[in-house]
């Protein structure tokens, strides 16, 4: 998607293009909160970015395969683990941060967050979990700063990230069972919902991520 390469005055955010979903929407939303998003298919471009956003709509196995084919896996590890560059995974992008996925077979993930990606139980509820649901914040100093105790966000998913360490969760949501709606662990952030599709509350989350980046970079 070379047609989208606007550089504004804000923070340089690399959006990883691995052919999995709504990159344009993510770029539009980041721009709306003052960042200078850059959609990239090239791993070497991650090193000069201030922050990395890993978006994604789709299946875990395809996502990992595409990241590997484009040479992103090693570069993401270098940037996120060694250089501690802020990363925000959105939806599938958050799931890929985990150690393992189980959609269409067990597949190794990026491994930044200890834990597995598991299918949502359909005990009395419809799966996929689609629509606006309220996220209860367990941390309010990061992504949810200024949003009170809970807000509605837009979800579209059938799998959730189940972190080995529950304290990594910064927000939880209930659909059938309680699940982790977001994680915050140092420079690693992820939301199961789509902030870029969650109207003004979503934009606030993205703005807070940018702010968290400027304090970590």
């Amino acid at each position: 998607m070379r047609d989208y390469d606007r550089r504004g005055s804000g923070m340089d955010v690399a959006i990883v293009d691995y052919s999995m979903g709504n990159l344009r929407s993510v770029a539009n939303a980041l721009e709306a909160v003052g960042a200078s998003p850059r959609i990239t298919t090239r791993p070497d471009e991650l090193s000069r970015a201030d922050a990395i956003v890993l978006p994604g709509v789709g299946a875990f196995a395809d996502g990992m395969r595409n990241l590997k084919q484009r040479g992103f896996v090693e570069e993401l590890r270098t940037q996120v683990v060694e250089r501690r560059k802020p990363v925000l995974g959105l939806c599938l992008g958050m799931q890929l941060l985990a150690e393992r996925g189980t959609e269409h077979g067990t597949v190794e993930g990026l491994g930044f967050v200890p834990g597995d990606v598991v299918r949502m139980p359909s005990n009395g509820v419809r799966v996929p979990h689609i629509g606006w649901n309220d996220v209860r914040f367990t941390r309010t100093d990061g992504l949810y700063d200024g949003l009170g105790e809970a807000q509605d966000f837009y979800f579209v998913h059938s799998y959730t990230l189940d972190p080995a360490d529950e304290s990594l969760a910064s927000g939880v949501c209930v659909h059938g069972d309680e699940f982790v709606a977001s994680i915050e662990d140092g420079n690693v952030f992820g939301t199961q919902f789509h902030p870029e599709k969650s109207q003004s509350s979503g934009l606030t989350v993205l703005r807070n991520f940018m702010r968290a980046c400027s304090s970590t970079v």
Partner: protein
């Protein structure tokens, strides 16, 4: 708690925004690009665009129009997604995984397939494997016959398939559909309210969310769709001919005890 969604459906024909009646009569009501700002001002839960252009038909009612249509209807996705931060679903004339990819690339979050899915249910599976089930909505157009049979129609409501609606919905889910968008042909544009029996039959047949559409003439009709089993309620015409359609629709749902995002 998961909220029930209220969704405007915007119908496009040859690049123009139209209102529809019984899937046969289409009146132009505007240029979608000019209307984008208005849609974005609606603080809606989601937007569904359906491109109902049919290459092999010529609508006589359209012969006198002077409004220039869009060269490429997909430009609308880009125009809308630039400033609107809500989910966008796009349907119409999608026959391959490449067609889907193109729409996602332009800013769609979900796509709907209808005729293409009936012709080859494998298309649902291929889409679900590539983009995830949650991004693949199977749209089903249904005509209720006088004997009560609910038959699936394709090609914009012109071709009978012999398929029973609940049966086909179940098959679509098995093939990987993440949502069912259920449209009633015989209620379309009539304002008589939803076909509740149809919604109930399909909602019982599948575990994925069902979006009900077709027949809404008053905001009070929405709650009946939810009561019948729909996860989300959609409508087209009412959004263009009533003021404050979003607020008024949401309030009507809330009054009926339906949890909504206000």
């Amino acid at each position: 708690m998961l909220k029930h969604r209220l969704i405007p459906v915007l119908l496009l024909q040859n690049g123009l925004l139209v209102r529809s009646e019984l899937f046969r009569i289409h009146q132009i009501i505007g240029n979608p690009i000019h209307e984008v700002q208005r849609f974005n001002e609606w603080n809606v839960d989601e937007l569904i665009y359906l491109d109902i252009t049919r290459d092999d038909t010529y609508d006589l009612r359209r012969a006198d129009h002077r409004i220039q249509g869009l060269g490429d209807p997909l430009d609308i996705i880009e125009a809308v997604s630039r400033t609107c931060f809500m989910p966008l679903t796009w349907g119409g004339r999608i026959r391959s995984v490449d067609d889907m990819r193109e729409r996602f690339r332009r800013g769609a979050d979900k796509i709907t397939i209808n005729t293409g899915a009936v012709a080859d249910p494998g298309l649902i599976t291929a889409g679900a494997h590539t983009f995830g089930s949650q991004a693949i909505v199977v749209a089903i157009d249904v005509l209720r016959h006088v004997d009560g049979r609910a038959e699936v129609f394709v090609d914009g409501g012109t071709t009978a398939t012999g398929l029973d609606t609940a049966e086909w919905a179940r098959m679509a889910e098995e093939h990987g559909a993440g949502e069912i968008f259920l449209q009633s042909i015989d209620r379309d544009g009539t304002g008589r309210g939803y076909d509740r029996e149809l919604i109930a039959a399909v909602a019982d047949a599948v575990t994925v969310p069902v979006i009900a559409c077709g027949g809404v003439g008053a905001f009070e009709h929405y709650a009946a769709g939810i009561a019948a089993g729909a996860s989300a309620v959609a409508a087209a015409n009412i959004w263009h001919f009533k003021e404050m359609s979003d607020r008024a629709g949401k309030r009507a749902l809330a009054r009926a005890g339906v949890p909504v995002r206000l």
